[in-house]
């Protein structure tokens, strides 16, 4: 019987709350980065496109763990002191911002050209056309890959445990050190992640069905 797991469940759930908090912050900021970067990449000038190209290239080729360590070791030397929560939120948002950029770029590209023409035929142009015709449709198309990326964000926050943020994974580590029951505890930790991520996917599917009724 997994008695150790049950005894430590309240502690693990407190860790899960920190995971959820960090993941929510990162979903918001990475989405903002993604939307701005996707718009700039699709319609921006040479300088904006170049900057975003370099950003995407660097992030796509580097492991998240390396970036997490980098911010932990580099910022103090640069004289900036941030706690693990802030540092983690910055790195995870920047990392998944690149994935979100791809999600929104693909969505913008798959809005049919006819929709632009229709908007122009009605006399719309520039920001007006974008905000009323293109972006709302793109957001609907972005739904499923967006949810996938959110699941990746939740899983990605587990890496912030290595720089000392007491979220779900680090809480699991600490409980294991005290109880010496790694199988039960990490099994339980995996199960809590599963519940979070799986309900996220189910919620995403329900939202998708709901949105497609509106069409």
């Amino acid at each position: 019987m997994p008695q150790v797991l049950f005894a430590n469940l309240p502690l693990l759930l407190r860790g899960a709350a920190v995971t959820l908090e960090l993941a929510s912050i990162c979903v918001v900021f990475s989405s903002l980065i993604g939307i701005v970067a996707a718009l700039a990449q699709s319609y921006g000038g040479f300088l904006a496109r170049g900057t975003i190209f370099i950003y995407l290239y660097l992030v796509r080729g580097t492991p998240l763990l390396v970036l997490v360590f980098a911010i932990y070791y580099i910022l103090p030397y640069a004289g900036i002191n941030v706690n693990a929560m802030t540092g983690g939120a910055i790195v995870v948002s920047l990392y998944f911002g690149a994935f979100m950029t791809e999600v929104f770029r693909a969505a913008l590209a798959s809005v049919p050209r006819g929709q632009w023409d229709a908007g122009r035929a009605l006399g719309m142009h520039g920001r007006w056309l974008m905000s009323i015709v293109v972006v709302p449709q793109a957001l609907r198309l972005a739904g499923p890959p967006f949810i996938n990326t959110c699941v990746m964000v939740v899983k990605g926050t587990s890496l912030v445990s290595v720089i000392g943020l007491t979220e779900l994974t680090l809480t699991g580590n600490e409980v294991v050190e005290r109880t010496l029951a790694p199988f039960q505890v990490f099994g339980g930790v995996a199960l809590i992640y599963f519940v979070i991520c799986y309900s996220l996917s189910l919620g995403g599917k329900a939202l998708e069905v709901h949105l497609s009724h509106g069409q």
Binding site: P63, L65, V66, F69, Y73, A181, F186, G187, F194, S201
Partner: protein, 218 residues
């Protein structure tokens, strides 16, 4: 603190020793995940319902839990049960179990996008089901799966960095030791990031060559 290019050059040989471990682990993980994905996709497309359900459930399970936690489970969890896995084996196991699931999804999408009409056309020409798969479906599906497969290979290489947390002396592990000993954090992490980017860019380039050659063949 200033940036010292000489330090970057001095750190390089030490990190290169870890590159061997990273490459070895990546290559094994990619090969085994490719094969495990084949096994899983047969289960997913099987006519036997329980097998389909088991494979589908497995996929949800590995997809919705972090690889890092899986590594801890295999490394620390199995050891106490008497099955002592080295960090390398535990890391490899977690990478293969998770990415095999992703691979099977890539295969499935490729096969389903070729479409059942192509299969029916093959059957109408008198091919047996396995022949229709080999001659009609497979060559078309290969071209569809290459781009997502390249992305997955890159994700695997990046995820190998996680084994540094279970005492495997890969590039990331050595970089951390070096930073703690020398305090040259800018230089060492610049080296490390550049090396990962070099590996992943090489994989991306190789995969586009394969894709291009296949296109030229057809």
């Amino acid at each position: 603190m200033t940036f010292d290019p000489e330090m970057m050059a001095r750190a390089l040989p030490i990190l290169l020793g870890g590159l061997v471990v990273t490459l070895e682990l990546s290559a094994l993980a990619i090969l085994l995940a490719l094969s495990w994905g084949v096994v899983l996709v047969f289960g997913r497309l099987s006519r036997f319902r329980p097998l389909r359900l088991i494979c589908g459930g497995y996929l949800q399970l590995v997809r919705n839990t972090p690889v890092l936690v899986q590594m801890y489970l295999f490394y620390f969890g199995f050891a106490l049960g008497g099955l002592r896995l080295s960090g390398f084996v535990a890391g490899l196991l977690a990478l293969v179990l998770q990415n095999g699931g992703y691979m099977s999804e890539i295969y499935r999408a490729g096969i389903e996008n070729v479409g059942s009409r192509q299969r029916e056309a093959g059957l109408a020409l008198g091919m047996r089901p396995l022949e229709a798969f080999r001659i009609v479906i497979f060559p078309q599906a290969v071209r569809l799966v290459l781009p997502p497969m390249a992305n997955q290979f890159i994700a695997i290489v990046k995820d190998t960095a996680l084994v540094s947390t279970i005492a495997v002396a890969d590039m990331t592990f050595r970089a951390r030791l070096l930073v703690e000993r020398t305090a040259a954090s800018y230089e060492v992490f610049a080296d490390l990031a550049l090396m990962y980017i070099a590996v992943t860019a090489t994989i991306a380039a190789l995969m586009s060559v394969v894709e291009w050659r296949l296109k030229a063949l057809s």
